[in-house]
Structures are given as C-alpha cells and as structure tokens.
Symmetry: C2
Amino acid sequence: MTAPAAATLPAGLVTYEDVARAAERLAGAAHHTPVLVSRMANERTGASLFFKAENFQRTGAFKFRGAYNAISALAPEQRARGVVTYSSGNHGQALACAGALLGAPVTVVMPHDAPAIKVAATRGYGADIVVYDRFRDDREEIGRRLAQERGLALVPPYDHDDVIAGQGTAGKELFEEAGPLDRLYVCLGGGGLLSGCALSAKALSPGCEVIGVEPEAGDDGRQSLRKGEIVRIPVPQTIADGAMTAFLGERTFPIIRRDVADIETVSDAALVEAMRFFAERMKVVVEPTGCLAAAASFAAGDAIAGRRVGVILSGGNIDLQRFAALVADA
Amino acid sequence: MTAPAAATLPAGLVTYEDVARAAERLAGAAHHTPVLVSRMANERTGASLFFKAENFQRTGAFKFRGAYNAISALAPEQRARGVVTYSSGNHGQALACAGALLGAPVTVVMPHDAPAIKVAATRGYGADIVVYDRFRDDREEIGRRLAQERGLALVPPYDHDDVIAGQGTAGKELFEEAGPLDRLYVCLGGGGLLSGCALSAKALSPGCEVIGVEPEAGDDGRQSLRKGEIVRIPVPQTIADGAMTAFLGERTFPIIRRDVADIETVSDAALVEAMRFFAERMKVVVEPTGCLAAAASFAAGDAIAGRRVGVILSGGNIDLQRFAALVADA
C-alpha cells in the first residue's frame, strides 16, 4: 500500500544479512520458540494460522533477541565497560539478562513508580537501576548522559540497528519452520519487531504481505505510514503496555515504510478476548501486547480465509493478579 | 518399594507392545505434545526436569490417547454401533472427539448437575448425553445397562486395557524425546496414565523410578500399594477434579503394584502454587490435576537433586473464572 522511491531512504538501513548474522549470534542463547497451531483458531478464521510463541522466549518476550544481539555486536572493551537503557518493561529485563550472560554490566533507567516486581526482576539479573521521576525527568536524556559520563553503550528499546536485526530472527525462524506465508501479523510499538520481521519476510517469503498492528488508542504508526513521515501522538492509554509508544523510530520507520503493506489497529476489548482464547483453548498465557497481532488476525475475515498466515505472539509477561482480573471479567 | 511375585499377577496384563501398537494407531490423530524445560524450575529443584505437556493434547488432556486407542481397537461393526462411557470430565470429551473422528456414535452418561460448559463441549463433538441423578443413580450401572441394551462397547475412564495402552504413549513419547530418566512423576486417579507410563518406563528407561502422585485428600492409591490390595475410600474433596477417584482399577492396580516404586501425595495449596508457577514463569495453563506430578517434583528436594526427572502435565482444562480465582488468590 506504500512504495516510496528507494532513493528517499536513509543509507545503510538494516538488511536481512544483519538478521542472519544475529541468528548466528543468538544460536544456543535464545530459545528457538515453537510455532503453535490450533484447529479451533483455524476454524474460527478459515485460515491456516501459525503462531510464533515468543511468550516462551527467555525473559518472556522477543526482546531478548535484540538485546542479546546488540551486546554481542559490541567490541570487547565496550562490552566490559557496559551498556545502558531506559525501559520499565520487557526490554530492560531482556538487556539485564543478556548482559549477565555476556559479561556486560547493565544499567537500566526506570521510573520511580515502576512496579516492584519489574524492578526486582531486572535487579535479579544483576543490573544497576537508576531511578527517575516520570513527571519531571526525560528518561532518554538521562540515558544519553549516563552513556556519556560512564562510557556506556546506549541500547534503546527499538531504534537501534542491532536491536532491529535481533528481533528479525523471530520472523526468520517462523518462515523457516512454517514455510512461505501469504500474510504476517506483527505487533507495533516503536517498530523494532515489525521492521526486523519485515526484512525476514522479504527475504524468505517474498510474496508475504506484512501487517503491523497497534492499539486503537494510539495509531501513530498508521498515521505515519499514510503521511509518509513519523507522526507523534500523546502516549496512548491501553492495556497493551508494550505498545504505549508515541512515535516510531528513525531507524525502524524507513524499513516499515518500504516493506510493510499496512498497519491495522485493535481495541483493548479485542485484546482481552484474544487473551481468553489463548488461555482457554490453547492453554498459553499471552500478555495484552502479545495479543495485538492475533486479535487483528481473528478479525480479518475474508482477507485471510483460505490463506497461510503467520502471527507473532510477542510476549507473556503479565502480573498474575492482572491476568486473572482481565480474563475473569468476561 | 514393592515387588510381588509375578505368579500373583492376573494373566494377560497390558504390555509395552500394546503401548507401541497404540502409538501406531495414534500417529497423525493425537498431537505429539512438546516436552518443556524451564531454567527456573531446574534452579528451584536442582534437577533437570522434563515436562510432558499433555495440556496441549487434543481436547486439552492425555485422555484423548486412551479414548482414541480404545475406539480404534474395536471391530468395524462394533465401531459402527457405538460406544458408551460415564464421565463428566476429560474422558467424556475425549471419547466424544475420538468417536467423531473415527465414525463411532458416542453416548456419555453425565450427572444432572454437570457444568453446562462441559455438557456443551461434549455435545459439541456430536455425542449423545444421558443424564443421571448423582445422588440417586449408579453411573456405572447405567453405563453397563446402556451398553447391553443398545449393543454399545463400554469404554470406562481408566479400567480398560486399550485405555491403559493409549495413555502409555504419553510416557513413550517423553522417553523418546528426553532420553533415559532417573525418575518419572505421574498423577494418579484411577491409574490409567500411571500404569501405562510405567510400562513405557520399564521398556524404554529400565532404571527409571516411577512415582504416582495423588491428592492429599484421598490417598487410596498409596494405601493400596502398601496393603497389596485395592483400598476403597470416600470420594476425596480436592481441587484436583480429575483425581477424585475412590479406588484404583482392577486392570491398573496389578501393573502399578509391579512397576511403580512409590506413591506420594500433595496438598491443594501446593497444586495452586504449581499452577501459579506454570502461568507466571512458563506461560502455560495447567489444570489442578495436571499439577499433581509437578508439585511432587517441586517438593522432592534432595531425592531428585542432580537427576534427570520426567513430569507429566496431564491436562489444561479448567474454567477460566476458576483458574483466575485460584491463581489470583495468593
């Protein structure tokens, strides 16, 4: 649906070769997560659905791929000095875990009101936590300052070439296991997973239409794609806490613009319905953000009937009390 | 811990050859369920745990194996006349599904107060439901009468050689994928899964100690093993609704007595703790009965430290409201 001239693209974008190199680095460190199929989901949609279960990934989300690849790509001296990021969510934990495995000290900038369980999990991997005031401070500025002052490499959650390449390995594994697909649904926050998977689709299943999915509460990605430039919106309020991003990345957007067919949105209610389906019928726990792609596929109707469709389940990290409240409240 | 003379055993018990034949029948019909591993579970126990995920089996529990094998073993004329069973739980649904696949009419005798969702699921597979009064009627007598009057083959939930052989294929697959094990934990209600898996253990991993696990509320299995005869108890009250059995089977007990090393019990509280672990850490939904074996392994301590241990997760069928209430109530 969008086809900008190649000449307008920034030079040196991430390529599928970078994804393939990331896959080599990740071998033996990341889980080769299973591809789930469900007779019931197929009957419901009329399609053949292939769910890539990144909720079974290390640290509970695809984020481990990008984080591990980014630290692996550092020169030994830099790795020894360490890395820093800002993230209260899955990326922070993933980077902390990857750093512990690769011997790199990790600093994570987290808001003062981050859930205790997330702070504990991140610290549990040995990371150093720097607290900021969500209402007063700029987390990116703090991250950049720490990087400069302490000589740390900044590994942001999505707008980073090695992160994009790492996330693309989830798509690579899916195509290698399921074979060529007609369509691939991928959730969209800052665009790391979507851009990486789009590179894998283009290389391994050239006819595959890649669809990004973001929460209805904040369709900055769709607006950006239509407008041809990055659109900024207020932070969207949604239960998909991994997709509460206000804008796409400078490194992810050009790839999305070139290789993604369209961006769709789904409501929080549809996310809850998908969570229930996964727990009740497929016996797996998927977090709200992890249900974005699936919810879009469940609503696709004729667009996917009779077709082979990939769906990335991006993660399964959700507080059990919250999970229980969401699935019980039918 | 028990070693009766072979001479005291009834003739013609199920053998591993029966299990292997069942595996051939099940190929392509039952799911070859994955074996899950968890770094966290290994750290917690000091053992290498291999979880056979029968919660991903068709109809959500291992019961599909025995049901499908039992119908497959029938002569064509009998299959065309149909089968009958009494079960308000996983076996009833499994038999209904297997019958639909194999073209055998299925009648399921269910209590008048069975949950509407289970009645609907069983009927959804095209089964005929016969309702009985839980307080007045004898379900086994009704089943036998229907079998006689209508010429149906009775396929009880566990005390049946083809059912035992079918359930044993879960253990067979586990050993084939994980390799030899030092110990195998299997949940225990009437003993179909335990006896079948014990046959597979003896054939494929002769040194493996097989441990049955039943709810603390009703240790008739343990009593039976110690006494050397089937002990009957009042129906135990436990959240493990698949193990609310009052006595072992005539066909399962001799195998258990010969091939099972010991029987342990776990509390309902330990089952809830295990359910929480699976949902929170491993992102899978396991029903209370399905957690019996795992809960015993989590409590095993030194007995399994440094050892390779198999654990059967027998099923994942639980009403979502109930699941939410159990895991949220920390």
